[in-house]
């Protein structure tokens, strides 16, 4: 029996997530327009504790949905509530919310520890407590060793991790992560996935967006599929994976040693194609889960520095085209 269920009935009666008794997040008929452009259209949603993946191609409306949930913008129509309260400019809600935004923006002159501590103090913590919590959060994202360095000098992956640290520093009950793994190196990616799973297992409501199924798959089985501003389906991630696996998955691996990496990858059976491009290697695989899981070992054993991995969403787009007819 299929566990992926269409969602677009507009009355919130979709299976799995709607009308949960302990719902933390509730959206009712929520739409948002930017002038003539629809960002999110008639979303009905209830989410409770645990990790939920928000999956959709770039431009699907994931970030708009997250901005609405975190009170960055207001719905043009309908409502969004967290813990039964409206979100906009509501300290009661914000106290329990952690948000890791998509944009790669920071107070570049601050060090990692200053950045996280400074924001933790806005959560009402004393200087000493904020610093202690910041150190703990940076340790959880494996950035404590670089905590004293300026963020302006961080790599993309380190910037992603410090962004995640500021979102968990106050132990939020609901954590919203917008493309948190983008640009991370393989080891940090694995550690972050583990951290997200731990947060969900500890009882937090975690919503993670991505345009890469494999990332979501490592964190949760519960997914929402977003396309053209609508939640088109919700259900079990493996069902979607089966659909996606019919389409080759392309991954760009940024490295200074592209030739050596390509030589190693071309021996793997599930790799359909390898191309050395400027600054890295473009790989095509039919088994992304197996591929991703082997990367950390490759990095460690062969000493090839992989700076970041990014995945095109063309295969996901194909699945969405299939789902929405």
């Amino acid at each position: 029996m299929s566990t992926v269920q269409p969602h677009g009935d507009g009355n919130g009666s979709g299976a799995g997530f709607t009308h949960l008794p302990g719902a933390v997040l509730a959206c009712r008929g929520m739409s948002r327009w930017y002038g003539q452009v629809i960002g999110i259209n008639d979303v009905n949603l209830d989410l409770g504790p645990g990790v939920t993946g928000l999956l959709g191609p770039n431009g699907a409306g994931k970030s708009t949905l997250m901005k609405l949930i975190t009170g960055q913008i207001r719905p043009s129509r309908g409502t969004v509530t967290l813990f039964g309260e409206t979100v906009w400019d509501n300290p009661n809600v914000m106290r329990r919310l952690g948000f890791c935004p998509e944009q790669d923006s920071f107070y570049e002159g601050l060090s990692g520890i200053e950045f996280v501590t400074g924001l933790a103090r806005l959560n009402g913590l004393s200087r000493a407590e904020a610093k202690a919590r910041a150190e703990k959060a940076l340790e959880r994202v494996d950035l404590l060793a670089a905590a004293g360095r300026k963020i302006g000098g961080y790599s993309k992956g380190m910037r992603q991790r410090v962004k995640m640290a500021q979102s968990i520093v106050h132990d939020p009950q609901i954590l919203i992560l917008d493309e948190p793994l983008s640009g991370m190196d393989p080891i940090a990616r694995r550690a972050s996935i583990r951290l997200i799973r731990e947060m969900g297992a500890a009882g937090a409501t975690v919503i993670v967006s991505s345009h890469i199924l494999h990332e979501i798959e490592g964190m949760t089985r519960s997914i929402l599929l977003v396309h053209n501003g609508r939640i088109v389906a919700e259900g079990d991630v493996h069902e979607i994976r089966d659909l996606i696996d019919e389409h080759p998955h392309r991954i760009f691996m940024e490295t200074g040693d592209a030739r050596k990496l390509a030589e190693a990858l071309v021996r793997w059976k599930d790799v359909q194609g390898v191309r050395v491009d400027e600054g890295g290697v473009l790989v095509e695989t039919i088994r992304p889960d197996a591929f991703y899981s082997r990367i950390p070992s490759l990095v460690l054993e062969q000493g090839i520095a992989v700076e970041s991995m990014t995945s095109a969403d063309d295969n996901l787009q194909a699945v969405f085209d299939y789902l929405v007819g």
Partner: protein
């Protein structure tokens, strides 16, 4: 911890590391250099009807500080209260904290005010000290009180202009350009127009408070009748309160949509 203090502390830490602070620190030294030149030139003309120290002080205060440094420093810091956060896309980090948006503005406003005041008042104090050093000891003592009043006027001006430019920064996208146009046209040109129009500028009330003796205020007195000191102070307080309230309201209500 008091949220306004937390916002203030973070904003100070961020601002102290910006290039803006470095550049404006250098800019705030310009009036000091100008004052040194002024004093040197006056000394060269001694005995030929040279300007008195207190007369020079009036010109230094009016042209170097009120018309230039006060506007420049408050414009750059206050429009950046919200403007920087939008431009750098960092406002999200602040708006998802349990602090009302108006409190975030107030904390950042106080930080901008502290930095602006520090630069303007330090620069003015040094310039006035340079002027006093050119005075005879007996006259210098009598001029100290005037310089203290000048510093108080600059402090009032810093607060009022920070509130005004802070509102412009919260309300408009190209706040720096709008503020610059406002400072160069309205606050500078309209102030010197005869008639009642000048009463619609902040500068008018600051100039009304200048303590320099009659006949020492340059061209100003030919064009305008000053407002009484109590009325000027009250008006400046009302301008400050009004624009801070408007800015808080704007930040509380306005959506700042950041491009991805």
């Amino acid at each position: 911890m008091d949220p306004i203090k937390a916002v203030f502390a973070l904003a100070m830490r961020v601002q102290l590391r910006t290039k803006r602070t470095l550049v404006l620190s250098l800019v705030s030294a310009l009036p000091i250099a100008g004052t040194l030149l002024f004093v040197a030139a006056s000394r060269l003309k001694l005995g030929e009807g040279a300007q008195t120290v207190i007369g020079a002080a009036g010109d230094v205060m009016t042209f170097f500080y009120l018309s230039f440094l006060l506007l420049a420093i408050t414009l750059f810091y206050a429009t950046a209260i919200v403007g920087d956060e939008i431009e750098e896309k960092t406002i999200t980090y602040l708006f998802v904290r349990p602090v009302p948006r108006s409190t975030i503005f107030l904390g950042k406003f106080l930080a901008a005010l502290a930095l602006s005041s520090a630069m303007i008042l330090t620069s003015a104090s040094i310039s006035f000290s340079v002027l006093l050093s050119a005075d005879s000891p007996a006259e210098a003592a009598s001029h100290v009180w005037i310089f203290i009043q000048d510093l108080a006027i600059l402090a009032l001006g810093t607060v009022a202009y920070s509130a005004l430019f802070g509102f412009i920064g919260a309300r408009f996208k190209r706040a720096l350009l709008i503020g610059l146009a406002f400072a160069l046209t309205w606050e500078t040109a309209v102030t010197y127009l005869p008639g009642y129009l000048s009463h619609l500028t902040v500068m008018h009330y600051l100039q009304s408070l200048l303590p320099h003796p009659s006949g020492q205020r340059g061209v100003l007195e030919f064009f305008q009748a000053p407002t009484s000191a109590p009325a000027a102070v009250l008006t400046l307080a009302a301008i400050t309160g009004g624009f801070v309230a408007l800015a808080c309201y704007t930040v509380s209500r306005k959506e700042y949509v950041l491009d991805a």
